[in-house]
Symmetry: C2
Subunit: 341 residues, 2 copies
């Protein structure tokens, strides 16, 4: 790269001192109009850009928010990121996004690297592996340090911290009620392995609603999908006997879409024979045929809230205001009815 101009080079080129240049570039009235114009012209000509690293070091402020998510290929998280970005940009903040790939070690590594002065605050959605292990020391350390931190979506249970969550239990509850109200009596759920709390909560709410109707779900209709195996084969089991469910709730859009494929392959009609409802914020539900009824997650809102929260915390720190106690923001879900029910 050719030499980059900085304040010092400008200063020596123009025979003034660095501080004069610095002030002139900020249009300070301390500097004479002439010198100011000269310096600004020179700076523009040589495409001078202040070094953000130096600025951040000086101001003890990076104007960057770190975000750690498990997977970027999950559409939900990209919605959240868009939501975070929107709020952050409004406050002149930028994002530094890191992927934990659902690995504990990678998550720790990301945290280390982001909290070494690179960012002013951190938004974290925990890695699957971390939640399985229940190992939250790395989080607790940040909390002890009072590092501005907000968890979202995949939140470690039991940690005293700021959080933004989807009301997964209410969402599952809503899904069951919706199907029951449609007159379905034989409900099934496609859920996730036990340690993934979001799936589990959706399952909890679903089961609770059924019980509230004094009904029950057949044990074999509660399917916890193992993603390391063929998903459609597992779903097939629901239809291995004549007595198959007439309403299925899938805790995400992938399972729901696979269920639709299985059902159609068997020759059954959606929603005539079986209704399907998913849980998601993605584009897939609009693209399936028939289009899919879902419990909407509103990831974008979640991103908004999480960003607002962390920015508040950062600002408190700046102004040495009194610390607001930890809060948990709950993002409401709602039903988006389409053709699959």
């Amino acid at each position: 790269m050719p030499k980059k101009v900085n304040i010092k080079t400008i200063a020596s080129e123009l025979g003034v001192s660095p501080s004069t240049v610095s002030k002139a570039l900020k249009d300070s009235h301390e500097i004479g109009a002439e010198t100011r114009a000269k310096i600004q012209a020179f700076a523009k000509m040589y495409n001078y850009k202040p070094n953000s690293l130096a600025l951040s070091l000086r101001n003890q402020k990076t104007m960057i928010i770190g975000v750690i998510i498990p997977q970027i290929t999950h559409h939900f998280f990209t919605r959240v990121i868009s939501g975070i970005e929107y709020i952050a940009n409004q406050h002149d903040y930028n994002l530094m996004i890191c992927l934990s790939k659902d690995k504990y070690d990678k998550e720790i590594q990301n945290i280390e690297m982001l909290t070494n002065g690179r960012v002013d605050g951190l938004l974290i959605s925990a890695a699957k592996e971390t939640l399985e292990k229940g190992a939250y020391d790395h989080f607790q350390r940040l909390i002890d340090e009072e590092f501005p931190l907000v968890f979202f979506d995949r939140v470690p249970p039991g940690l005293k911290a700021d959080k933004v969550v989807v009301d997964d239990i209410a969402g599952g509850h809503m899904a069951a009620n919706f199907l029951l109200d449609k007159g379905h009596k034989n409900l099934a759920i496609l859920s996730t392995p036990e340690h993934v709390t979001v799936g589990l909560d959706r399952e909890k709410g679903f089961v609770k609603a059924i019980e509230e109707h004094d009904m029950e779900m057949k044990p074999e209709f509660k399917l916890r999908i193992d993603e390391s195996q063929d998903i459609e084969l597992q779903i097939n089991k629901l239809f291995s006997t004549g007595n198959y469910p007439d309403g299925i709730f899938a805790v995400n859009e992938i399972y729901a879409a696979h269920a639709m494929k299985v059902i159609q392959r068997i020759g059954l009609q959606i929603p005539k024979d079986v209704s399907i409802i998913g849980f998601t914020d993605g584009i897939i539900p609009k693209l399936t045929s028939p289009s899919m009824t879902v419990i909407a997650q509103h990831g974008y809102n979640m991103g908004n809230k999480a960003a607002e929260l962390v920015l508040n915390i950062i600002q408190e720190d700046d102004n040495e205001e009194e610390k607001i106690p930890y809060q948990t923001v709950v993002i409401a879900t709602d039903v988006v009815e389409r053709e699959s029910t």
Copy 2:
């Protein structure tokens, strides 16, 4: 936040000098074993982490690669990012991802903010608006500065720079040949507005292959989708007369999925009456029923290549090696056959 420990505080706590601490923390043999141990123990106890900002400033190296993409909700770009991340991490690099939201101004803003010393190199996929305008001054400026820079996927035509592209023409060509080989004679294409070069190239290749077979495509079968309007309504036109296409190529997975919906709603069978082939790297093709045959884009590979390229350039700069002339890496596409053809 409570006081953060830094080298200076450690030094004064332990009654040694900052430079001693610095060396001890790097296990330098200049420092006596005893002092070394003492300092390291203290650092660990107080969870000392070196400030990356200061390090970057000192070393003139941030170990960060900037990435500017138009949209994070496009699955293709998330695949590319995963690919970039993988290579970057192998070289101890991290990413700073920015979204241009397909806006020219936002893109400029992102570039400004990333090239102010925050990153060692930059990977850019151009915003739609930038390509429409054909305004590439902001790119040219970076090239003139010899800032380590690689364009990927949406590459500004005519710019002398390093690039990684999908062979869109070959992909379109492949799609047509595939359909023709299956015996289809009446082909249609769902394409994008003119300024989106990737769509246009796919269209070019598609048309060329048809011509090579001494056939031609009906003008009304070349549909350029306007995304501000209802997509399915536009696709419907293909089926407004009895003479509808028997093979459809969609330049992305969204159009393809919508086409499938339209066809099934009309009551036609896929692939019996109409075959569909998409162009994508996403998850959707596996979830549609029937599953979708596609030309695979290999976004992950593209990310790998782009990261490798920019890291090479950074390294050259470091070692003041001779500059390798600009290169263009082409990522091959291939057909993934599923049930829609």
